[in-house]
Amino acid sequence: MWERKPVLLCVLATVAIMVGTIITMVLPFAWVNTEADRIEGVTPYTALQQEGRDVYIRDGCNNCHTQTVRPLVPEVLRYGDYSKSGEFVYDRPFLWGSKRTGPDLARLGGKYPDAWHYKHMESPRSMVPKTNMPDYGWLSDNQLDPQMIQRKMDVLGFPYTTEEIKALEGKNEMDAMVAYLQKLGSDIPWREATETTIVGDLKNPFIDAGQTTISGWASLYVENCAACHGPQMEGDIGPELIGDDYDDEILFEIIYTGIADGGMPSFSNLGTDKVWKLTNYIRHYKTDGSQ
């Protein structure tokens, strides 16, 4: 038998290994990334975005961040619409990752304005005090190499124009990174599709809350709003909040659903209770002024 025949043993072992390989690894090429997978609107990366992606790879962002949203309720609530195969056809390599030390980034594109990303990459802890993400401000010191990027685009077969390559002159790796992050998961109009509509009349449940109660909600503001609107609501990336005179209901709606084209993310995943608390905190702060 094969116990005495090493060549035969090697051949049989190869056969044993190849069965599962062919069925689960080779065969799927017949379906995956074919016409059936195609999604309208999914486009290749621009030169700037692709370079940002390469910086993301170079610095190992994938060691802490994933890029796939699973079709599970808490996950879709936290990150957005679940990921579809056709969204990744231009990803070489894939960057789905395997560990979420930081949050998933598959639906990050369009969630925050560019300024948020610049500030956050420069100093993550200035916006999220307890994060363990390292500072990446040094990316701004590295100028892009348009010639190299053009070569990359040629190898990938992605379309580009000479103006586009010329425009890379003077841009740095931080610009590329932000451009890439803003593209993530935004090729399909999932945000519009999942936009929250508030049905029925809104009624502030904390209308009778006293000042001490409301002051106790400060941590909600600090954790969710201060990074953009400033610790004193004086405004920074987002506008100043003191002096705005929205009704409770309108303020609630803005926080809950966000302003898609204004850079304000939706905070619906905090739940109505917390959003009402925030509404009251901001309103109270504004009227009080001295808090």
Binding site: T24, P28, N33, I57, W96, S268
Partner: protein, 471 residues
Amino acid sequence: MENQTYNYAIVRSFVTWSIIWGLVAVLVGVIVSFQMVDPDLNFPPYLTFGRLRPIHTNAGIYGWGIGMIFATFLYMVQRLCKVPLWSDKLAKFQLWFFNATIIASAVTLLLGYTTSKEYHEMEWPIDVMVVILWVVFAINIIMTILKRKDEQMYISLWYMMAAIIAVAILYIVNAAAVPVSLFKSYSAYAGTNDANVEWWFGHNAVAMVLTAPFLAMFYYFLPKSTGVPIYSHRMSIIAFWSLIFMYLWTGAHHLLWTPVPDWIQTLAMGFSIMLIAPSWGSVFNGYLSMNGQWHQMRENYLVKFLILGITFYGLQTLQGPMQAIRTFSAFIHYTDWVPAHIHLGTMGWVSMICFASIYYLVPRIYGRELYSIPLANLHFWLILVGQLTWSISLWIAGVLQAGMWNAMNSDGSLTYTFMETMVEMYPYWWARAFGGMIYLAGLIVFIYNLYKTAKKGGAIAAQATVVEGRA
């Protein structure tokens, strides 16, 4: 005096270099574990978590793991075939090319030249080096087997051959890429296909690098250490064929709930559960070989390492299939539970077997008995406690974070923001770093013991290896 012709010098060199790379792996592991609790310990651009973590994993897998595979295979193949190596020159080349490859990997990864594919981060020029290295190794092993004097091939040789073939296929297919420059390439596959190929590679690297070769070592060094044969040759054969057949179907259990086609995920889940049988076939074979010999757990430190090693393998191969079930994966995947699982295998199973193999080889490659058995026992307890501290703290962390990620309010909203769940991890990450330090201390005791042995252990009779029975 057939013994004289065996090439033990090359085995000694590989042992030495794998220990050096193992120390690097653990040291970098400890550093990145501190970076996770304090971001100020990142020193950009080179010394950041994102660049150091692949150096930790690859130094562990390729430096320590494959280095030890080279060391033990080159030893076992000579003893089991009862002939010297086919080519000593090739083996010498392999040693230096191995070190060159590992150094080149570490330097390029530090510079940020990476493909980002886990456990295969090295860019294409290094892939070429790895392939050359593996072919050289394969030729020497297979040629030695072909000219063997003992016609019957022991089970360890089967595992060796299967691993050599499988690793070659896995590595080359996953490496396929189009170069842009010397240090940058783009994967030949895109998106979902790329993910499926990568985890077909990734999971079977676990099978064919971190399992099959270490089973080969276990099946060889356990009977050698206890002095009694393995319980059942037939059981080892059945386990062998079912293991190498079933493993290749399971890669997609790393991709449950992703856009990879559902049927691939389902197959991966099913085969993962079936894999418990061959895995535990080897575990039972090990345990049953100890029938009437359990007293050796007290008396023989080698046996302690081997039996704890196979026990960790058993736990690993129960926990793994559990995680491969869709519902459980939905809960636990992407949390700190997963690194805890991996380190149970690497720090527990793989390293325990490596340590046992080295201790067994010491008198043969140094010509002296081990300097201190009490130190070997101290080494054992330090790595055991270090490993358990490491894994248990992160299992708790994983369950905690998964629970918080999934917690929902009665109005259907999420109870915690991502940051609220992350800050809860800090105490456990500290505990993990502490566990890693204990493990590192164990490793240093081990190295000290070997250093003392090489320097001035008592010489033993040179014929000791000759009089032992058949392989």
